[in-house]
Amino acid sequence: MIDVRELTKTYRTPFARRKVEALRGVTFGVERGHIFGFVGPNGAGKTTTIRTLMGLIRPTSGTARLLGEPLPSRAARFKIGFLPESPYFYDYLTVAELCDLAGRLFGMPAAVRKRRADELIEKVGLTRSRGLSLKKFSKGMLQRAGLAQALMNDPELVVLDEPMSGLDPIGRKEVRDLILELRDAGKTVFFSTHILSDVEAITDRVAIIARGQLQAHGTPAELVSRALQGVDVTVRLATGDAPDAPDAPDALAGLSDGATRVRRVGDELSLTLAADADVDAWLARAHAAGARVVAITPRHETLEDLFVRQVAGADRAARAEAAP
């Protein structure tokens, strides 16, 4: 569906010699029917990659193919739906007129445009606002309008740049459900985001980009380590046994020794024991101090851990490269 190889984009300021390398040899592929999450911090190169794929930016070098067609391909764009980042639309149009304009650009007949626009406006939850001009829309409503216009041509490939941006939790869930619905209908969805919980919830494959370079690429299961990282324990302390209380027993005060992420809320103590810690011995000590176990959860690496690690690594590499 998408095949990107060694894509680079370098911007040069007109009157200075400064070069900005927005993309540095980005390579990845997206298979048909997958939901692909493209994640990275702000300024990592997500939007530049997407704009290059959409023909808005010409790459400095490298190649990319969409639906088997080399960029820039008009034939491919007939089968692609695109939601730009922070979508800006003609604010004097209504959402129905925006969809109609999109339909005209795809060469759809008037009756089909009308029917499709009605369906999509209902699907994105803008039926009650269909008479308003986009100027009166909130950011979240504009995002929904953008999704509607992106789906007018019933695309095979849907490219969404930060589709959850500006949406409230319910709106985000609705967009996630819509993306899953598109996948179930056989579409391929490529979306960028920096909201990792969305990526973990719905993607089949993930790529992490930082400083213009791809840092990791694969399924979420492949990317995160399954090795035990530690054990999260929460215990309820006996009343009056707070470790900071003047009469706290020594046994209880020692519970947090060697632990990380120690947190005390009311009479509950939460902490993380090391992966190689003797959990049974720790629990015995807690019982002896009068504490009652509330939860014990093994801690594995999350996508967020991986993301932070990859981005920090990219930052370190960039600093080393820049050093004289």
Partner: protein, 262 residues
């Protein structure tokens, strides 16, 4: 292809119709017609001549300024506001987009020049000045002028900011209007000045061809108040303007094709 260009043109028309400055210009043109009536009253039995000359000058001036204003803003704001991202990511070529914007401007300017012309005709009738064939030909030539100026503006707008595009387009329009005068002024100048002026005038559209009233063509005086140009001249001037328009739009499309929309 036609459907996509038409979609952009209709949207451009809709966008331009919301620009309040255009309504201000409309008021100015109506004001220039009232000025023509006033000046006509001051003249001795020349009310009709004054009405025709001032009325046509108003259409040419305000029509061309409107064309420059629309040309430099309508394309630029698409890029600046990023509305273009959702458009050119669809199966539309960039040249189709540029042509669509121009066609939309043609629609707006045609409506405006039509309103200007109706106002002028109403003014001429009120002054019992008579709407001659010469007046109609002059109006058609003014329309051609405005459309050619729009193409000049959109060409500059394809690679420059509205401020610079406006200055460049205005300069080209003024130089194009003054071409015969500049040629005459340098007739006795040093050869290198003559050669430089000739070269400079070659790269400027001959918009003076659309404003012939009061000039001498082939040794004969031409005036909208007397003997005016034949229809064949109007057609040839139109073809000349069309040639420049096609050339300028082709260049604009090529430049626009090479741009990154970041």
């Amino acid at each position: 292809m036609i459907g996509r260009i038409w979609a952009i043109a209709l949207n451009t028309f809709r966008e331009a119709a919301r620009i309040r400055v255009l309504y201000g210009i409309l008021v100015l043109v109506l004001g220039s017609n009232l000025l023509a009536i006033f000046l006509g009253q001051l003249s001795l039995h020349e009310a009709g001549r004054v009405a025709r000359d001032v009325g046509l000058a108003g259409i040419s001036l305000f029509g061309s300024l409107t064309a420059i204003f629309l040309g430099v803003f309508l394309l630029y704001t698409e890029v600046q506001r990023r509305t273009i991202h959702a458009i050119v990511s669809k199966p539309i070529s960039r040249w189709e987009f540029v042509v669509g914007k121009y066609v939309g401007m043609v629609l707006v300017l045609t409506v405006l020049v039509g309103v200007f012309a109706l106002a002028m005709i109403a003014m001429l009738i009120s002054q019992r000045a008579g709407v001659t064939a010469g007046v109609v030909k002059a109006l058609v030539l003014s329309w051609f002028e405005v459309l050619t100026v729009a193409a000049i503006a959109i060409f500059f707008s394809s690679f420059s900011t509205p401020f610079l595009s406006g200055i460049f387009a205005l300069a080209m329009w003024v130089i194009g209007r003054l071409t015969p005068d500049l040629e005459a002024a340098t007739r006795y100048a040093a050869p290198w000045i003559q050669a430089t002026t000739k070269l400079a005038l070659e790269i400027v559209p001959d918009v003076h061809l659309f404003a012939v009233s009061g000039r001498t063509l082939d040794g004969s005086a031409v005036s909208v108040n007397g003997e005016f140009v034949p229809w064949s001249y109007v057609a040839l001037a139109g073809a000349h303007g069309l040639g420049w328009t096609v050339g300028l739009l082709a260049l604009a499309a090529w430049l626009f094709h090479r741009r990154d929309f970041v």
